[in-house]
């Protein structure tokens, strides 16, 4: 996928991809993030009270934004088939989720599982979760996932390169993965739990957007802390500012640690009051999760019937 006009304009303006130094000048020239202030803002938004009709709306929206995920060593085609069944018919009249997210070798099972449902197949790639492999190995990983039918690729950035200031390495790797994706959408995992500061989160977000990400994603789910509200706030500010500067509209995906309907609704409030309505759409906001779906379903059933159904009434997958 090629960059559009304004995006090229930004890249050219910053003279960006020439060297580590030119990228550093740009990324370190972005406004800083005051950690205390960002946390305070996230706390205020987390205290919003979402009730009745708006809660009902938020639950269904959250369900439709889920990347229903299984990323375990013990995953099998059978497990993925079950996940796909749950993804397309969560039950209780709920809408289907946005995508299922699996390892590359299980993409064929996922493709078969969601055939005809409109649900996307996302695959992690690039030596997920650590990203510690040679570039050609990572690219082969991506190509195999795409060849098997993945609609979306979730790559990890080279955090070692990022933290040691080799921004050009990270940039060029994303560009290369982008090229290997073909028509598949690219989600770039920043692994914010390893970046250390919100300043780094903002810089990594811009780096990924400039290199061609369709989505920026918080975490692999394999590192703690995974998604947090302050980190997601900073990433939403980044996509908002990128679009306002003439860039494309980039999506955001918090992933890992979002387990309850209450958590999910807090993220939607964050989207609503930071990036705004255009991002309240599964095309631009996803939640990477596995157990979250059942809690949303439980809340949904409670709002329909006035009673909580026990866990035995929720399917395990």
């Amino acid at each position: 996928m090629s960059h559009n006009g304004p995006m090229d304009g930004i890249t050219a303006l910053a003279g960006l991809a020439a060297s580590d130094a030119s990228l550093r000048r740009f990324l370190h020239g972005l406004p800083g993030v005051d950690e205390v202030g960002a946390r305070a803002r996230a706390d205020v938004l987390a205290s919003r009270s979402i009730k009745t009709d708006s809660k009902r709306q938020a639950i269904d929206l959250a369900i439709s934004m889920i990347d229903l995920t299984t990323l375990e060593g013990q995953d099998t085609p059978g497990k993925v088939r079950a996940l796909c069944a749950k993804a397309s018919r969560p039950g209780f009249g709920a809408p289907p989720v946005a995508a299922v997210c699996v390892y590359p070798d299980l993409v064929p099972a996922a493709v078969a599982g969601v055939a005809g449902t409109g649900i996307k197949v996302a695959s992690v790639a690039t030596a997920f979760p650590s990203g510690r492999a040679a570039l050609d190995v990572k690219l082969a990983d991506v190509k195999s996932a795409v060849a098997a039918g993945a609609d979306e690729v979730d790559m990890v950035i080279d955090r070692g390169a990022f933290l040691s200031g080799r921004y050009l390495t990270v940039f060029e790797e994303i560009v290369a993965v982008r090229a290997s994706c073909g028509d598949a959408h690219l989600k770039v995992i920043l692994e914010t739990g390893e970046l250390g500061t919100l300043d780094s989160v903002r810089r990594a977000s811009w780096l990924a957007m400039l290199a061609g990400a369709d989505f920026i994603k918080t975490s692999t789910g394999k590192v703690a802390p995974a998604a947090t509200l302050p980190v997601t706030l900073v990433m939403l500010e980044a996509v908002r500012d990128f679009a306002a500067a003439g860039g494309r509209r980039i999506g955001v995906k918090p992933a890992g640690g979002i387990r309850t309907a209450k958590d999910a609704i807090r993220y939607l409030v964050l989207v609503n009051e930071t990036a705004g309505e255009p991002w309240l759409d599964p095309a631009f906001f996803r939640i990477g999760a596995s157990s979250l779906l059942n809690d949303l379903l439980m809340q949904r059933a409670r709002m329909e019937t006035g009673r909580y159904a026990g866990p035995d009434y929720m399917t395990v997958d």
Binding site: G32, V33, R48, I50, A58, L61
Partner: protein, 481 residues
């Protein structure tokens, strides 16, 4: 996709309003000779009738405070006074929801603020000063500083319970007794606090609360039985009180108006600076003496910051103060709304450009939309006079020296803010700003351990922290604070 928040009102049922309230004198509620109504500024609904204290009522209250001072409170060991204060602090926490709802009803401020700021801070002030009560000998005022006697305290309507806590907690911790007059438009939480004093078993007369208008306040501060006057309110009234006290030998502290500069440099963390600007001027509808009512933004980023500010202001939720999602509540009174409206009109007339957040205003009650004026110069009234409402005046500067010059170019000096990622610039600026509080990369943060007070027409004396104790102690004229 549009995501509207359904109404999420906090329940009023936690509060049991009485039809009428008496004066709290000598540990019990007594009738006054006349009464006035207090309303909810969000709906103009009458909440209750409250007794109006005349000079003879003030007299009784001062006499009760004097008796309690001489017979009980001044002789009580500090650790025993501390126990009462701890008990009051805990009861405030236990009855927090009730206090928050009542404050929001009577004042018009959003429940989120009364719940998350006013009431917890009020409890924190009692906890903090409870800790000082038996340690006054270590506060730097000599081995055994003495209390002053009876304090007459007059407080404003913007933070009714919190200002009560700022006044009563240090006074009691230091061994004084008090007669407090809450503001005419917001007497109800003070009267609920009187119940809390009863519940805590506070000896009668240690705290007395007299409700009324300006004449009650006048009678209180002029009363010969008062040893110490503490006032928070307008500079105009503060000057009048200073005249009264000057000829009487009463100790006096004044916390008055402000016109704080919030200084944003080009390397500021923009998103948090915008939050700080919003919090600085729209927190509590701008009814804050230390509000950041003048935004001084470096010219090179003025456009960017203003765009971000307007985008953020468009998300502010104005409306029912009891709704848990409301960000901006009602203006406290018709009179205050008129004053804000008049000053904002002067901004138009003098050539500044007005922009208001596009939020619909309720039909009933007193409301003013969050508003920003650009193209403001130092000569404009909206840059010099305290508006005490949700109106921000934006000025620009080019160099740090110009920022200091403009920030200090005001008769006030209560607070200031500075936003930059450069630590040395923060320190450079803070040492040159003539303001009692300078916030760095934050605004409107309060803590009982941090002294608060002003320069110039913003008053004198400090409240909070070790320094705040001096206002309630006889330090022999030569304390080392």
């Amino acid at each position: 996709m549009r995501f509207e928040y359904a109404p999420a009102p906090e329940s009023r049922s936690v509060v049991s309003l009485r039809d009428c309230y008496g004066l709290f004198i000598n540990g019990e509620f007594v009738d006054g000779n006349s009464a006035f109504k207090t309303i909810s500024p969000a709906t103009e609904e009458v909440l209750a009738e409250v007794a109006h204290a005349g000079p003879e009522d003030v007299d009784r209250a001062v006499a009760a405070a004097r008796r309690a001072y001489e017979r009980v409170w001044s002789a009580l060991p500090g650790r025993e006074r501390g126990k009462y204060l701890f008990r009051i602090a805990r009861i405030i926490q236990e009855r927090a929801r009730e206090l928050a709802v009542l404050e929001t009803l009577d004042n018009g401020k959003p429940i989120r603020e009364s719940r998350d700021v006013d009431v917890p801070l009020a409890a924190a002030h009692f906890f903090y000063h409870a800790g000082w009560a038996d340690k006054l000998g270590y506060a730097g005022f000599g081995p055994s500083p003495r209390p002053l006697g009876v304090a007459g305290q007059v407080i404003p309507w913007n933070f009714p319970l919190l200002m009560l806590a700022w006044k009563i907690a240090p006074a009691l911790a230091c061994g004084n007794t008090v007669v407090l007059k809450p503001a005419e438009t917001t007497p109800l939480t003070a009267l609920l606090f009187a119940e809390i004093c009863q519940q805590a078993g506070l000896p009668p007369g240690v705290v007395n609360i007299v409700t009324g208008d300006g004449s009650t306040g006048q009678a209180l501060v002029a009363h010969p039985g008062i040893d110490k006057v503490a006032f928070t309110g307008s500079t105009e009234v503060g000057k009048e009180i200073a005249r009264v006290c000057a000829v009487s030998g009463k100790r006096l502290t004044l916390e008055l108006g402000g016109k704080a500069a919030n200084v944003v440099f080009d390397d500021a963390p923009v998103d948090q600076a915008v939050e700080g600007i919003v919090n600085g001027i729209f927190f509590n509808q701008g009814h804050v003496c230390c509000a950041g009512s003048r935004l001084l933004v470096q010219e090179s980023v003025a456009g960017e910051v203003l765009d971000a500010l307007k985008r953020r202001m468009a998300t502010l939720r104005l409306g029912d103060p009891l709704d848990k999602n409301t960000d901006v509540g009602a203006i406290n009174s018709r009179a205050q709304l008129d004053k804000i409206t008049e000053l904002a009109s002067s901004g138009d007339a003098e050539g500044a450009q007005r922009w208001s957040a596009p939020c619909p205003l309720p039909d009933r009650g007193f409301w003013f939309p969050p508003t920003v004026f650009t193209g403001v110069s130092q000569a404009h009234r909206i840059a010099r006079e305290e508006i005490f409402g949700p109106v921000l005046s934006v000025l620009t500067f080019r160099t740090p020296a110009e920022a200091v010059e403009k920030a200090n170019n005001t008769p006030y000096g209560l607070s200031a803010g500075v936003w930059t990622e450069k630590g040395s610039l923060i320190l450079w600026l803070a040492s040159r700003l003539r303001a009692g509080v300078v916030w760095a990369n934050t605004f409107n943060r309060f803590d009982p351990s941090s002294p608060f007070g002003g320069y110039k027409e913003s008053g004198f004396g400090r409240e909070g922290g070790r320094h705040g104790l001096e206002a309630y102690l006889d330090v022999g004229g030569g304390g080392d604070a």
